[in-house]
Every structure is written in structure tokens, then in C-alpha cells.
Symmetry: C2
Subunit: 351 residues, 2 copies
């Protein structure tokens, strides 16, 4: 056999999935040529490329991920890093949906990488870095000085955060404008004549804690209302804890007449505490809540809600990681979604 065709395959197993070798055999070309033709390399003739593409399509060729990954290190994987604990009200579902909607048009797969204890937040990141498990990472529960962001930046692995940081590192993020949410919430409550307002806030170590507080306080100043302290309780507490603490507050001298709830499930507990204190929504108290789903609007239409669309957040996050992977500058991969009050559920045909 002459040298020219020395590496050509002689026989091909027939049930197996096609590889570059299959196409090489069918076109009479070398494996390298086929590989380069499919990547549209400049040193391959136009007609050859066309032939290769045609055959590849015909036989349904799809590159073997393990082969690519072994040779190039490219995993075609995006890793979504989650705390098992943050799943209380199920924000993950729509997030996963949003992400996969974007990934569907790409070669990327979505791998969910969980971690349990809060102190282990770095563990999954290290795992991904050490094993090269992903091309990009999506993290949430972002902190102002987030060690995960520091580590990922240092090691040069593309990522995006759900929430912002404050460390002077420019990186991709998507965030809900919690400052504005709280500000508009205060505006709304004051417009209803409420003046003693309370905020159910995020835990202080997360970045959006300060955003939400800042918006709340700016609102208090601009619209001349007063704050009632509820600092000992936050949205990471159990619903029972929130309820009981709020009942106590509502029975006290200091009882607020307006509530801003930083979470939808927290709102449920607040309502329960309020009712246990024998108060009534819209009469003794008004409430504005952030809400990632519909149930509050259905079951407690008295509560004014601002919808946080987690699904869209998922989309934005996915687009941003991919952009980062593709080398787009981080500052172009930042987005903030604006809160808007939701209209009430329509009361059907007969109004």
C-alpha cells in the first residue's frame, strides 16, 4: 500500500456511531482533512468541505465529546453550582429552564453541581477547577467579597454570578434590581398612607442585602417614612421563625403599618404572623412582596407583588457565561433586571 493511503480504515463496524474515520472512509479523504473540513479551516478546498459536510450530515455525524475533551480540554459543559439549602421555595426550576433554553442552541450541556454546608461553598468550585469539569460556571448567593469569584478569576475560568460583588473585579453578572424594588415598594406603601415600615431582608452576608436596605432607606428618606426594626430575622430563616418573630412585632407598640418582603415565601410567614396577631391586611397593614411565582397573587391578591422572573435570569446567566467563554469583555456581560409591579389576576369574563 502506498504511503498516501496508509492510515485509511479498511473495514468499518456497521452498527456503531459514525466518527471522523467513517467520513474519511466514505469520502476517500484522510481523517485530518475531514476534521479540518468540518471546522471550516482555510487550507481545505471549498468543494471538499462541501462534500464532507454533506456526508457528515447524511450519516448524522456528531463529534465524540470524550475525544474532543481529552484532546482539547474543552468540556462543552456549563456547571450550575447550587446550595441544597437555597431550594426552599424552588427557585431552581425556572432557573434551570431558562438556562437550558439558551444552551439548547449550543453544544453545551448543563451539569448541576450541588454543595451542602455554607462553609463548603468553595468546594464545588475547587472541584471544577481541579478536574477541569466545566468550561463555565454559574454561581448564586453572591457575596460582596466572594471567595468563589476571586478564585475563579485568578484561575481564569469563565463564570457568571447571579448577583453582584464589591471587590473591584469586573465580571459577568445578572442581577435583579433589589435597590429599586425596595425603593418602589416604599413609594407604594407611603402612597397608601403607610408611614411605619418594616423590611424582611436577605441575610446580611449576601450582596443584595445591602442593595435592598439601601433602596429601603433611600425610600424612607425620599418619601418621609420611618423604619421599624426587624433585623434579627431574615429570609433565610424558617417560615415558623419568621412568623413567630413577626407576630411578636405586630403585637408590640412598634407594630408597623407597611411591610416590604424580600421573598415570596417569607411573605407567607409574615401574613401568618400578622393574622395570629389579629391584624388584617389592607386594614391594619399593607404589604409589598417580591415574588418569583404566582401563588401570592392568586391566594393573597391584597399583597402587591413585584415579579422576579427567574427564568429570564437563567437565560441571561447562560448567555453571559457563554459570552465570557467566547472571550467577550466582561463589562458587556452584565445585566440588571428591573422590577415592575404585577397587575392583579384578571377576574375572568364576568369581571
Amino acid at each position: 500500500m502506498d504511503n498516501k493511503t496508509k492510515n485509511r480504515p479498511q473495514t468499518l463496524p456497521d452498527g456503531a456511531r459514525p466518527t471522523l474515520k467513517t467520513i474519511a472512509f466514505m469520502t476517500g479523504l484522510g481523517i485530518t482533512t475531514v476534521s479540518r473540513a468540518l471546522k471550516d479551516a482555510p487550507d481545505i478546498g471549498a468543494e471538499t468541505k462541501e462534500r464532507v459536510r454533506l456526508v457528515a450530515k447524511q450519516i448524522g455525524y456528531q463529534p465524540n465529546r470524550a475525544g474532543v475533551r481529552l484532546r482539547t480540554g474543552k468540556t462543552n459543559v456549563i456547571s450550575l453550582v447550587l446550595t441544597l439549602e437555597e431550594e426552599i421555595m424552588g427557585i431552581t426550576s425556572p432557573m434551570v429552564v431558562g438556562i437550558t433554553e439558551i444552551l439548547a442552541g449550543t453544544p453545551y450541556h448543563l451539569v448541576v453541581t450541588p454543595y451542602s454546608a455554607v462553609k463548603d461553598a468553595l468546594a464545588p468550585i475547587r472541584y471544577i477547577l481541579d478536574t477541569g469539569a466545566a468550561d463555565g460556571v454559574i454561581i448564586s448567593r453572591t457575596e460582596p467579597h466572594d471567595p468563589r469569584v476571586a478564585l475563579l478569576t485568578e484561575r481564569g475560568l469563565p463564570f457568571v454570578t447571579h448577583g453582584r460583588t464589591e471587590m473591584g473585579i469586573v465580571h459577568p453578572y445578572h442581577d435583579f434590581d433589589n435597590e429599586r424594588f425596595a425603593y418602589e415598594a416604599v413609594r407604594k406603601l407611603v402612597a397608601r398612607g403607610r408611614r411605619k415600615l418594616v423590611l424582611l431582608e436577605p441575610p446580611p452576608h449576601l450582596t443584595f442585602y445591602s442593595h435592598m436596605r439601601a433602596g429601603f432607606e433611600r425610600g424612607l428618606r425620599d418619601f418621609q417614612a420611618d423604619a421599624v426594626s426587624f433585623h434579627q430575622t431574615n429570609i433565610d430563616h424558617s417560615l415558623v421563625e419568621i412568623r413567630d418573630a413577626f407576630e411578636v412585632l405586630m403585637r408590640s407598640e412598634d407594630a408597623p403599618d407597611g411591610i416590604v418582603s424580600g421573598s415570596g415565601s417569607g411573605a407567607i410567614a409574615l401574613i401568618a404572623g400578622l393574622e395570629m396577631a389579629k391584624k388584617k391586611l389592607t386594614e391594619d397593614c399593607d404589604m409589598v412582596s417580591k415574588s418569583p411565582s404566582d401563588f401570592l397573587r392568586w391566594l393573597r391578591p391584597e399583597v402587591m407583588t413585584m415579579y422576579e422572573d427567574i427564568r429570564i435570569a437563567g437565560r441571561e446567566l447562560a448567555k453571559a457565561v457563554i459570552g465570557h467563554i467566547d472571550g467577550e469583555p466582561p463589562e458587556t456581560l452584565q445585566s440588571l433586571s428591573q422590577p415592575e409591579f404585577q397587575p392583579p389576576i384578571t377576574r375572568g369574563l364576568r369581571a
Copy 2:
């Protein structure tokens, strides 16, 4: 160099992650020996194994997934196949949590594989089969004659279904006992003196439709109650549709006095419809609902709920696929979770 050490590595890059080669170099053994030692093969000396394990642990060796996958075809991936549409009430979150809890102790990663249109249900399965993308598959929204089950069985890829089938194929599954749920729901309603019952049922093409109906009808017979037809509406319809249809029903001659809701979010819509028809829960009507989360108990404690623990379902499903992959007989990998009425939320310290 003598033949014995011909394939030994001379130098080793230092920043890189350790491979078998690294361990081979450090122990002075051959790569093959190291590989076999780590798998506890019988032809490797006990002391050698010990040394290899020690070094491997010290340097934090973790097998390269791409290498293993390329060589053996083993992906160490479990694929969760989801409809984007089923995410309405976010059942995915706790499910993902449950699955990852089990996978955490294994080498498996969880990949989420979505599909959009209902007619495309087979597409992700084919993709996984064709590309060898996973060692095992988890599917939901199971139908009595499910083409996905047929295909996976035929091609011999391990899987588990959330829900049962009726095709004479013995396969792993986990299911909620919807027959019993509906039966117990009817018992409860009749015990409260309700006799005209309605069922908000699953869409007819899913297997648990017939389970739930069967339990409902058995209950009607055993406890002597009557059914009110609501067949044109099911839990896959939009909340607005359910509400409007139910309002019409509640205003009709045929208005039921007892409701069995096959879904938690459906219950919300039913309540809305009922209230629009100027009826009141516990007065005109009682209601039992399946509920995958807590909000109904908090916001509508009048509704009697049976909790479907999706997180546990996730765990069971994960265990079952892995069992199937490990070759355990399918009939040992089937489980049914029993519904139980939930106690009301405790009313706090001062009850």
C-alpha cells in the same frame, strides 16, 4: 534504557493535575500496574496496592473522566430528561436536590436534558442513545404505553421512570400512590358529610390519570358518594382556564360540595373559581389537595393536603437508576410512596 522502564515518564509538568503517569513516576511502577492497583485487581500485590493508593490519595489523584469515557464508554453521567412545560409549579427543584443528594456519594454527575414540544418526547432519548451521552436516564410524565420506555428497554440503556407503565415491561420506577391518594381523599370528604365530589385530574394520556381516577371511583363506591363531572379540565390546563371552568361548575345545578385536587397549583385556581362563584371553603365545600410544597397549608389551612415529597422521589429515582446500571434486577428497583395527610401548621407557642 532497558525495556523494563522504556515507557516510564522522564519529566512531569508540575502545575498540571496528576494522572496515572504521575503516580507511576512517583512509585516507580508502570502505568498499567497503577491503573490495576487502583481498581483492586487480583494480580497486583497487596503492598503495591497500598503504596499506590497512598500516593494517589496524597497527590489528590482523580481519574480523568474524558479518558475513562473514551476508553470504556462509561460516562458517569445520569441524565434527567425534563419537559420545559412541566415546570409550572416548580417540581423540578426538590427533585434535582433529591437526585444530587444521592449522586454526591458516587462518581456520577447530573446532566439536565430538556425537550420542548410534547411530540418531541423521544428526541432527547434518541440523542442520549445515539451519542452515548449517559449511563442512565430518569424520565417523568410517564404514559401507560410509553415509547421512551420501549426504546430504552430495546436498546438496553438503564433508566427509571417517575410513574408507572402498563406495557408488560418490568422496569425500575418510583411513583406516588395516586390511587390511594384519591381514595383517602374521598374517605375524608365523605367523613365530613360531603357527597357530591369532583376530581381535578391529570391529563388522560399520563398513567397516573387512571390511577387517580380508579382511586376516586373506588372511594365513591366504598363510601357512597357521587361524582360531578369535570372531565373537560385537567391539571395541565392554565390556572385561568381551571378557575373559569370551575366557576361555571360551582354556579351550576351540579355544584359539588367536595373537591379532590390532583395538583397543588390546580388547587389555587379551584379556590379562586370557587370564590368567584361566591362560595366558601369549609362552608359550601371541602377540599383535599395533593401538595408538593407548603404554601397551601400556610395560606389556606382549610384545605386538607397530602404531601407529595418530590425530594424523596428524587432520591428514590437516583438510587433506582444506579441500581439498574449496577445490574440489579428491575423488580427490586420499584417503589411506591404512600400519601399521608399533613398536620396543620403549628400555631406557635401561644397556640
